[in-house]
Symmetry: C2
Subunit: 404 residues, 2 copies
């Protein structure tokens, strides 16, 4: 008899950002005169840089001419893009990564949701708390998380690594078994980073215990500080224990264009099997590559003009981050992140819950943010604002918050 995947039914409510969208839609309908400022979802607002637009036009033209038309892309992605990634993101930082260890995809959300598939459902996952919901939800759907405890808001079979003000939002290495460790730095949602020394400890731990680290570096372009790794492969030994996920969404505004990649080193071998081969098999069987024109656009991100232009975009967003961070701090808020990251993580005032603060902010200031508890129990009492908004709107949002 046909049965559904019962693990899907265990999922809590619907996806965080869908919940927020519903609340905002309701407010919008009831308050058609109010101008809502959205600093909630991590979506960019600047248009694609001129170098990227130019390349898109050029490659669209190629698709319209028989001699230059491109059909199915190579399984792993076009060589021109994989080579460019290796040169710019890895070789230039002294990381040993090869083009056939790069898997081009339609984005880090897909990769972070799909990567768990190549592991046994018996494995134990460890996640930061708070955490980007996709890591946990995709494991719930695979049946890896046990049952949900309504009281503490946690899954029975997941190892949670609290990220709190006390530990500088950098998790402690867990003292229980954890086979698949998800780390994200600069962190979503806290906006905090990890030092190279501390990340080296994680790599050493993973190599010692035989765990694998899924390292989400989607926000690396926002790092400006010293001794903060842009890639986990800056750490010694990471080739034998880490998979890295990267995105073009936040550095180059590809949220609506869709491009990312996973790095799976060939030295990452579990029980005699190369994870690189498993991921290649998944790519070859269930995916058909990112669009040619989008892969060309990705290449343009690394061109001289592209680099210059996206640097300006990042500076624009980081000026927003600085404005939010300083504005709220000066007004007495307890704030984190915002220095090497486009996210500002603030403690809600007066012991308000995250959703109470969400509702207050929406109703009193018409500003949308993301309730910290949506990222996990240790996010309760916190709130995330993003620097991806328009400059003037961001300033107005801060002013409205300060006036509340």
């Amino acid at each position: 008899m046909l049965k559904i995947n019962e693990d899907y039914l265990k999922l809590r409510g619907s996806y965080l950002f869908s919940d927020i969208a519903k609340k905002v839609k309701k407010f919008e309908t009831e308050n058609p005169d109010k101008k809502i400022i959205r600093l909630g979802i991590g979506d960019v607002t600047l248009p694609l840089a001129p170098a990227i637009i130019e390349t898109l036009h050029k490659s669209v033209d190629e698709m319209g001419v028989k001699e230059t038309f491109k059909g199915y892309a190579p399984d792993l992605g076009y060589e021109f893009l994989r080579n460019t990634i290796v040169e710019n993101d890895y070789k230039s930082r002294g990381c040993e990564i090869y083009p056939d260890e790069i898997f081009v995809s339609d984005g880090a959300k897909s990769d972070s949701g799909n990567i768990q598939e190549i592991f046994s459902t018996d494995n134990v996952i460890a996640v930061c708390d708070p955490v980007y919901p996709v890591y946990v939800d995709s494991n719930v759907m695979a049946g890896r998380t046990g049952s949900f405890d309504e009281l503490n808001g946690q899954w029975s079979d997941v190892v949670y690594m609290p990220c709190t003000a006390e530990n500088g939002f950098c998790p402690e290495i867990p003292n229980m078994e954890a086979d698949i460790i998800y780390l994200c730095f600069p962190n979503n949602p806290t906006g905090e980073v990890i030092s190279k020394d501390k990340l080296q400890q994680w790599v050493d731990h993973a190599n010692k215990t035989g765990a694998v680290i899924i390292y989400d570096a989607a926000y690396e372009a926002y790092i400006s500080g010293e001794n903060i790794p842009h890639s986990i492969y800056e750490c010694e030994g990471a080739r034998t224990c880490a998979i890295e996920l990267r995105s073009f969404s936040k550095n180059a505004g590809f949220t609506g264009l869709r491009l990312g990649f996973a790095v799976v080193p060939k030295d990452l071998v579990i029980g005699g099997t190369k994870l690189n081969s498993l991921w290649a098999r998944r790519h070859g069987t269930k995916y058909n590559g990112a669009p040619y024109i989008v892969q060309r656009a990705g290449e343009a991100v690394y061109s001289e003009a592209g680099k210059k232009q996206i640097k300006e975009q990042i500076a624009y967003y980081m000026a927003n981050a600085s404005y939010i961070y300083n504005g709220l701090k000066d007004a007495g808020y307890e704030v984190y992140g915002g220095t090497n990251s486009p996210y500002i993580w603030l403690k809600t005032p007066n012991e308000m819950s995250s959703w109470e603060f969400f509702d207050t902010l929406l109703s009193k200031a018409a500003v949308v943010g993301t309730p910290g508890v949506g990222f996990g129990p240790h996010g309760e009492g916190y709130f995330r604002l993003t620097a991806f908004g328009d400059k003037d709107a961001t300033k107005e949002a801060v002013e409205r918050i300060l006036k509340m």
Copy 2:
């Protein structure tokens, strides 16, 4: 201790088309002077139609301007595209399908690989033999297929439905339990179709037994005959038992642009749960939408100019199909398909095996096709040629084959 997904190791060799690519590459290296003609992989060769190119340029321009820039797309896809699909593909054929039953994706390969996820791993799948490998492989990876029998080339827990010359390559309804039934018409690889009456029998069977039909209609644009359904929803009762997968790859040449959609009717309820909600949850959690510019390109496929232009492209390919079909038939080959489909399915001459014929064709005629056995044991002794090549190259290929 970290373990891999052992089911991945059960997969047979590598993906069919990767194997072919390797053989062709070897031949190319050893015979640099020979001009290879590729009628193997089902990839199109005509450039994108002018109406689509025009729309791509227009929407690329939108992405370069702040006021019209688009970030994350709605989970299910843009309304403009879902509405257009409903109007053109369903309402116009009298099918009751609504926009919130359409899930826009990056292609039918992803959808046909991912759809099994929403079902229990206990379910039994039934597939045609021969069959598009993704249906089976994605179920192998999920642990749903049991063990592989080297002798008969079949998986122990899969129900195989032979498609042979005797049954006109249209499978019989299986007399054993089958919970998830994969059907693809016009069929890949045989190029044969199903009549509306016969498809109605499948729908009735599924409704009676509580099975679900995954109906892959990626090639529907090639149907020209009467009483051949373009959609399974032309059959009464399909809303309670069928999911349909569609592609823009073959009708509009999107193999390198990536766009498709799944239709999951809200009436499809299993044990009280709507499959529409489960698939929505998967989309929301593990996917972030097809690029805006590609969704606009998809909309252009249905514009007046777009429809006219892709009709011409289909006519071009079908002229190739006719040339291959008639050329081989006149020369005494036993040939199928090629009338309502871009695939020609031929019986290998002289009791040759599929791979023997592949090697002969490659070495003697420098023509690449696809060995039938790559699609399943009942494909042994057959061979697939596609009509997606260049017109002159296709003619030359047929001449070379006839001269062998």
